[in-house]
């Protein structure tokens, strides 16, 4: 990837992270850890990968994105805002009474949200349904799963379905940050090895560093050029990525920063933004 392009994407990903921290802080509720781990992938999807038009969010021919791990809604909202679906400050009303920015994605009321999700395992199935139509109409479908979400049996029903119907226009991404609510995935319910499981279900499996745009780009390119089977990017990520005290800490799965923590997180992200800008 061109170094200027990478720089621009890195700056945007940092703004997405600031949006996540701000909205969760304002709500004093939400899921910062798994939102921060997903930020770079979402940034690449919406600014480079998908054929979309924020001015025409319902265009039938558009590519679709389904956030199957719906609790990472703050990351999706911040990305859509930055991409121009609505004003950047709009999602700062996350989870508050009267806001369209529900705790989990609501396709009926939020421009750019292609599927309502929240009950884990369902989004990937809905993405399969969209991909069936997309095969006929020529659009691609992207769906992001959590590694904890892969405990759900429905994920594997969908995995079987996608490979049976050769949905090669479907690209799943597992945000593999190794943590779920009650602890590490290894302690709570070991879903690993996910690459071997998806391979056994007939998928094209691609290993990706979730915080390296070169690796992300290579992953999506490999997925797009693979025919005859769905692809999954196993995105090795850091939960809480970008905020030092949240990184790899399970207690930041679903808790909001207090004021001092919010200020520290924002100043770290501002610092990061400056460093990227000056590089």
């Amino acid at each position: 990837m061109d170094c200027n392009e990478k720089k621009l994407l890195s700056l945007k990903a940092t703004l997405i992270r600031k949006g996540i921290v701000t909205s969760v802080f304002n709500a004093q509720s939400g899921h910062p850890g798994g939102s921060l781990s997903a930020a770079d992938i979402l940034c690449f999807l919406y600014f480079k990968e998908m054929k979309i038009d924020p001015q025409n969010p319902k265009n039938p021919g558009r590519d679709r994105f389904v956030l199957s791990k719906g609790h990472a809604a703050p990351a999706l909202y911040a990305t859509l805002a930055l991409r121009g679906y609505f004003p950047e400050i709009a999602p700062h009303s996350l989870r508050q009474k009267g806001s369209i920015f529900q705790g989990h994605p609501d396709m009926k009321n939020i421009p750019g949200v292609d599927m309502s999700t929240g009950s884990l395992g369902q989004g990937i199935s809905a993405a399969c349904g969209m991909a069936l139509v997309g095969k006929e109409q020529g659009f691609r479908v992207y769906a992001m799963l959590g590694d904890g979400e892969c405990d759900e049996g429905q994920v594997w029903e969908a995995a079987m379905f996608a490979s049976h119907y050769r949905l090669d226009n479907l690209c799943a991404m597992v945000d593999l940050n190794g943590l779920q609510i009650d602890g590490s995935t290894k302690e709570v319910m070991n879903s690993e090895p996910l690459d071997e499981k998806f391979r056994a279900f007939g998928w094209n499996v691609i290993d990706v560093d979730a915080h390296d745009f070169d690796s992300i780009e290579n992953g999506f390119n490999a997925a797009k050029s693979f025919k005859g089977a769905p692809s999954v990017l196993i995105c090795r990520s850091i939960k809480g990525k970008g905020v030092s005290f949240m990184e790899n800490q399970v207690n930041w799965h679903g808790s909001a920063p207090k004021f001092e923590q919010y200020e520290k997180a924002m100043s770290e992200l501002d610092e990061l933004y400056k460093t990227i800008e000056e590089a």
Binding site: P60, C128, G129, F161
Partner: protein
């Protein structure tokens, strides 16, 4: 004797008819196409038929994705699995985003027969009725089932259609019958009480009204295929004009038509309501016809319920 056709059979044939006129219709099944009768569609339009295997939860969410991409999916399985096993998927993938998915569930109620309690869904009306925005239709015969399937295809939004395994008498005239979501059918007006039935027990309800007539009791009969939205005007006029109601359904007395009617009259015109249905118990194996009597859904049971309702009448 009237011709007997299962409502599931009428559904399958209606789907094949619809498929020819509406290219947007897509059909999903969960390894039960022979039983749900979606195979009629599969034979005609194999490119628009997707077997999901024995994975109903995935099937319902796949249907939601298809609807979100602009097609009209009909998803079928047995009621136990479509409404029961996949309840969370129906609620969150279909109901919450109000997607245009049609869930047509067969083998509802105890008339599944020999398979027994695990397959005899007596809770689906209660489950589906509790989801905001869900239309719930329980046809009483093959003519109504066909018309309901056409109406479901035309309506934009989620619809649950409850269908049976057993061949039941054809009651309506296919040349003249018109079905409207939210409307009941008055078969007979009465002055002493009103029998309101939904689904395949309409025949027993009509026979019960005749038996009551011989006892000098003039019972009205309403068929209520549209369990949600309920025909509230018709229920209210039954309450006002006859002062007592008996509901009849092949479903648990908790949560189905009986509950819907009770809720309705309690808030508009309180009158005694006696519910004929399966009395908060699981089903059992047996021949369908035997089970109707065993579980208190026979003509004599409806007559007794009518007497109870009359006794409570102020």
């Amino acid at each position: 004797m009237a011709e007997k056709i299962a409502t599931r059979d009428a559904y399958g044939k209606a789907l094949a008819e619809l498929g020819a006129v509406n290219k947007n219709i897509v059909v999903l099944d969960a390894d039960l196409a022979e039983a749900t009768k979606t195979l009629y569609f599969k034979k005609e339009f194999p490119d628009r038929f997707f077997d999901c295997g024995i994975a109903e939860q995935n099937m319902i969410s796949v249907a939601a994705g298809i609807a979100a991409a602009g097609k009209i999916p009909f998803a079928s399985s047995f009621a136990m699995f479509a409404a029961g096993r996949a309840f969370d998927q129906v609620r969150n993938s279909v109901g919450y985003p109000h997607l245009n998915v049609k869930i047509c569930a067969t083998h509802a109620g105890i008339t599944v027969g020999e398979d027994g309690a695990t397959h005899q869904c007596l809770e689906d009306l209660a489950l589906m009725r509790s989801i905001p925005g869900m239309v719930v239709i329980n046809p009483s015969d093959a003519v109504q089932a066909r018309a309901a399937v056409f109406a479901a295809a035309e309506y934009v939004g989620p619809v649950y259609v409850r269908l049976g395994r057993l061949a039941v008498p054809v009651i309506y005239d296919k040349n003249t019958y018109k079905f409207t979501i939210g409307k009941g059918e008055t078969h007979k007006s009465g002055c002493d009480l009103t029998l309101i039935s939904t689904g395949m027990l309409l025949e027993n309800t009509l026979l019960a009204a005749k038996a009551l007539e011989e006892l000098g009791i003039n019972a009205g009969v309403i068929d209520m295929p549209s369990v949600k939205p309920l025909d509230a005007d018709l229920v209210l006029s039954a309450a006002i004009n006859t002062g007592a109601i008996v509901t009849v359904e092949e479903h648990n007395i908790i949560g189905g038509l009986g509950s819907a009617v009770c809720e309705n009259v309690a808030e508009s015109r309180p009158v005694p309501v006696i519910r004929v249905g399966v009395k908060d118990t699981f089903g059992k194996s047996g021949k369908a016809i035997e089970l109707i009597d065993l579980f208190g859904l026979g003509v004599a049971d409806i007559v007794n319920a009518a007497k109870q309702a009359l006794a409570l009448k102020a």
